[in-house]
């Protein structure tokens, strides 16, 4: 089946229509995903108006989803939208089994773990993403995914075998590209993934980065990790407590905690969970682009953790 046809038959669930959810919905609807289910039980608040362009000033107090839906549909009448204003936490397990892909935005660590357990149970690819003010993150669990990439063959044949902790070349086929009369390789790379809960417990960067990379690594990485340890939301975050947890995160990740900078700790303690339009755009664009890739072309997907530092624009991909 062609990439577009696969896209058009795909059923995607998007949890929460905050600023980030809005960006993802916009991108997926524009790209012509077949079926998009939106679940969100929030009312429009004043804060929503600075992050969500599908809402309008006179809609404060109405259900966020009810207000946004006609503007979302208006972008592309051919996408089948399903609107659900119930609390996603109240959904029975089986609810999660009906989708080809699930994206959770703006959820707590505890909620993310539960949804991820269910996506594993039903073998559904899972994206988790969130914003912390000037910073944002993406976690991906495709369980197992074979990506096919094509490239011009170099003098040496691409060898089979492990590329990194989570990626392994399992098949290489040569073929002649008639138009250019050159030999190409079709490379199948197997991507293995871990559940979110396991990554939180065991994920580390030890041995995966060069000294120089460790030294230059943005503080946004351990601080994002530290924020995950507030499992039910960010009400309890204080600067001091976050610094403690960031130090612990550095130990687990194998990063020198003396690199933690005060201004970053301060920033993250003040901006935990905060949505900001430009960061939504970058994270939402990245998630949507990879979702479209996975549903259609199946080229090398994100694996498995990304953090954006909105100050330096550093955006690395880590295998955890």
């Amino acid at each position: 089946m062609a990439a577009q046809a696969r896209m058009r038959s795909a059923k995607v669930l998007l949890i929460n229509l905050g600023g980030l959810g809005t960006e993802i919905a916009k991108n997926l609807v524009l790209s012509g995903v077949g079926f998009l289910s939106l679940v969100d039980n929030h009312d429009v608040s004043e804060g929503d108006l600075s992050t969500q362009f599908f809402l309008s000033k006179d809609e404060i107090g109405t259900k966020r989803l009810d207000s946004a839906i006609s503007r979302i549909q208006d972008m592309n009448p051919r996408v089948t939208l399903t609107v659900d204003t119930e609390d996603f936490r109240q959904k029975p397990d089986s609810f999660y089994g009906q989708f080809d892909l699930i994206i959770a935005t703006d959820v707590s660590t505890e909620e993310a773990i539960r949804v991820n357990q269910l996506t594993r149970k039903f073998n559904v690819p899972f994206f988790l993403c969130g914003l912390n003010g000037l910073s944002g993150f993406i976690f991906v669990d495709l369980i197992r995914f074979d990506a096919t990439d094509e490239k011009l063959k170099s003098s040496v044949k691409t060898p089979l075998g492990a590329l990194s902790q989570n990626r392994e070349v399992v098949e290489v086929t040569e073929y002649l590209n008639e138009e250019q009369s050159e030999v190409y390789e079709r490379i199948v790379t197997r991507n293995a993934y871990k559940p979110f809960e396991q990554v939180l417990k065991e994920g580390t960067l030890k041995g995966k980065l060069t000294k120089r990379q460790v030294k230059r690594l943005t503080n946004a990485v351990p601080l994002t990790f530290a924020l995950f340890s507030y499992r039910d939301g960010y009400a309890a975050v204080t600067r001091h407590d976050l610094e403690q947890r960031a130090t612990d995160a550095c130990v687990q990740l194998g990063l020198p905690s003396e690199n933690l900078k005060q201004e970053y700790v301060e920033q993250f303690s003040q901006q935990a969970g905060l949505e900001f339009a430009p960061v939504s755009a970058v994270i939402g664009g990245t998630v949507a682009q990879d979702v479209i890739n996975i549903l259609g072309k199946k080229q090398s997907p994100l694996n498995n953790f990304i953090v954006l530092d909105g100050i330096s624009l550093d955006m690395h991909i880590f295998e955890l």
Binding site: K57, N76, I311
Partner: protein, 598 residues
């Protein structure tokens, strides 16, 4: 109503500054729509949007502020209207060319704290870059092509400008060339693929009858209705699955639409008129050789056959996207492109050639635009020093960013983010001393060119002959053996508001000559020549042929500044694992038939 998230991120004081800032957004296309949304949500006080273009059907699947009812409306005004419902910013839309000096003189640019470029052509990018240099205003440059994209903050005098590195000319075509006046085979291929095919088989913009059209103007509603109806009729014909209706599709596209174009006489004053393809017949003879150029009859047969197949598939597939490796879609596009080429008396191509060309047309990708616009708006906060708890960054501590993973340049970086480099001392734009010369209307009318040249020579210590070039039009006004115009008035040699004059030392010296100086002519009150106080250094004359590959330290390059040496070591760009940056790719040439459509 304060923007709570912006206040928390920026602090109250910086938020107030943001609220009182006026910014300029040039371009309301793919990146521009996204950028406008971000700037509005962030809460910039006043945003001016400039775009000359009108909305085309092909924009709809990625420029999310536009709908089918907006087709043929101005992009700038439509975009502003479409985001108004969440906006606390004053939005000012200009349907105009940013390079129009009468509408946008240099003084107009000076009201903004920052310029955002969201453009698809080099000429306008270069122009805004120059305005930024004259006014010393920061510019956020950006661009995308397919999955490649980049942003680059430009701080005049402190970091690389847009022209510090050479840019190749990208191949873009105006919508009207594609839709009305094709003059090359590739125009017909772009039309067949990106317009006709997507309209018939991949369109997602069907419109309900009772939709709010956003206007009460009866004529306007009628116009929109007619456009929409025609589009609907074609789509209905295709979706009816009735193969006998293919004739009607053919008639509409290759006869009626061409007749409509012929009726617009001004289009054909300097062009050869197209000839509608009357009385076409379908005789079922199919040529299977993809490497030869088929006869027009074979093209017609192929068109009918491909349309039949696609109609059949549409019943199960709902929408079909062009794919050069999907033979039905390729055959349709090739045949349609060739029939159109024949109508416009252009050369025909083989299916094989068209496959190559169509496959090389880089589509604009909505998500790339979204990411790049997000980065551009984000980077502006640090440029404007609006971030809370962040020390003011030196310009060369700021970062540019470009796609790395999506451009297949890195597996472990989604973005590359090198710090900004210092200005290139050999840059043809920012290395040149420049200033604004304000002249009165009376002086422009009566002052002779020779008077102006004399004043420049005296003010900036040019000891001998100089040459004067009008940079806007590349006209030589004077040099050592061309003095015919010196006695003419400025008005007579067409020096007016917006003219940029480049004055260069023509002295025959091997030691040192005076660097060139650029003057932007502004029109204003004071009488007389009040040349700006700028330092114009002595440089080594360009005598040696430059050897591009060998510009090591110690070798003095032509045009290099020898006075006022700044010894700072230029930061080297560090790239992960590639030599060609997406920034370059995003501005690539036609070599491989690359076409960037927006």
């Amino acid at each position: 109503m304060a923007n709570a998230s912006a206040v928390r991120l920026l602090g109250q004081e910086n938020y107030e500054r943001l609220r009182s800032s006026r910014v300029l957004l040039v371009g309301a296309g793919g990146i521009g729509c996204e950028l406008l949304k971000n700037l509005v949500l962030m809460g910039f006080g006043e945003i001016h949007i400039v775009d000359l273009d009108i909305i085309d059907l092909s924009n709809l699947n990625r420029q999310f502020l536009f709908r089918q009812r907006d087709i043929k409306q101005a992009k700038a005004t439509t975009a502003a209207r479409a985001i108004e419902h969440v906006s606390n910013s004053k939005l000012v839309a200009h349907q105009a060319n940013i390079m129009d000096v009468n509408q946008f003189p240099l003084a107009w640019f000076s009201q903004f704290s920052i310029f955002f470029n969201a453009l698809d052509n080099l000429e306008a990018r270069r122009y805004v870059n120059q305005m930024a240099q004259y006014l010393r205003k920061p510019l956020l440059e950006s661009g995308t092509a397919g999955f490649d994209g980049y942003i680059q903050p430009i701080i005049p005098g402190a970091t690389e400008c847009f022209d510090c590195t050479t840019k190749e000319t990208p191949k873009t075509f105006p919508v009207c060339t594609i839709r009305s006046t094709p003059s090359q085979p590739i125009h017909c291929i772009v039309w067949a693929k990106n317009f006709l095919f997507s309209q018939l088989f991949a369109s997602s913009g069907s419109m309900s009858a009772d939709e709010d059209l956003g206007t009460d103007n009866v004529e306007e509603i009628e116009r929109i209705r007619q456009e929409t109806n025609e589009l609907h009729e074609l789509q209905e014909l295709i979706r009816s699955g009735d193969k006998t209706r293919i004739r009607d599709v053919f008639e509409k596209v290759f006869v009626k639409d061409i007749e409509k174009l012929l009726a617009i006489e001004e289009l054909w004053k300097a062009r050869e008129k197209p000839t509608p393809l009357y009385n076409f017949k379908f005789d079922e003879k199919i040529n299977k050789n993809l490497n030869t150029v088929w006869t027009i009859q074979e093209q017609v047969n192929a068109f009918v056959l491909a349309t039949e197949k696609l109609m059949q598939r549409l019943s199960s597939e709902k929408q079909i996207e062009f794919d050069k490796d999907d033979p039905d879609t390729l055959l349709f596009v090739a045949a349609a492109a060739n029939i159109r080429a024949s109508v416009f008396k252009l050369p025909l191509k083989s299916v094989f050639d068209i496959k190559q060309i169509a496959g090389g047309i880089i589509p604009a990708i909505a998500t790339t635009n979204a990411i790049i616009a997000g980065l551009s708006s984000l980077a502006s906060l640090r440029v404007l020093n609006l971030l809370k708890n962040q020390p003011k960054a030196n310009p060369t501590e700021l970062n540019m960013a470009f796609t790395a993973k999506a451009s297949n340049m890195s597996n472990n970086r989604y973005l590359s983010n090198p710090q900004l480099g210092p200005p290139n001392p050999r840059c043809p734009v920012c290395s040149i001393a420049r200033g604004v010369l304000t002249l009165s209307q009376n002086d422009l009318d009566t002052m002779r060119l020779s008077e102006l040249v004399g004043a420049v020579q005296e003010k900036y210590s040019y000891s001998g002959e100089v040459s004067v070039l009008d940079k806007s039009t590349q006209r030589l006004l004077a040099d050592f053996d061309f003095e015919d115009l010196l006695n003419k008035t400025l008005a007579e040699v067409k020096v007016a508001r917006g003219t940029i004059l480049l004055i260069s030392d023509e002295q025959d010296s091997e030691e040192s000559i005076r660097a060139p100086v650029e003057l932007y002519i502004e029109q204003g009150e004071p009488e007389g020549i009040n040349l700006p106080d700028i330092e114009v250094p002595l440089i080594k004359p360009a005598v040696v042929e430059p050897d591009e590959t060998n510009s090591e330290e110690g070798v003095s390059m032509p045009g290099e500044i020898i006075l006022d040496e700044d010894d700072k070591n230029p930061k080297k760009r560090h790239l992960d694992d590639a030599s060609e940056t997406p920034a370059k790719k995003a501005l690539k040439t036609e070599e491989e038939h690359v076409v960037i459509l927006d």
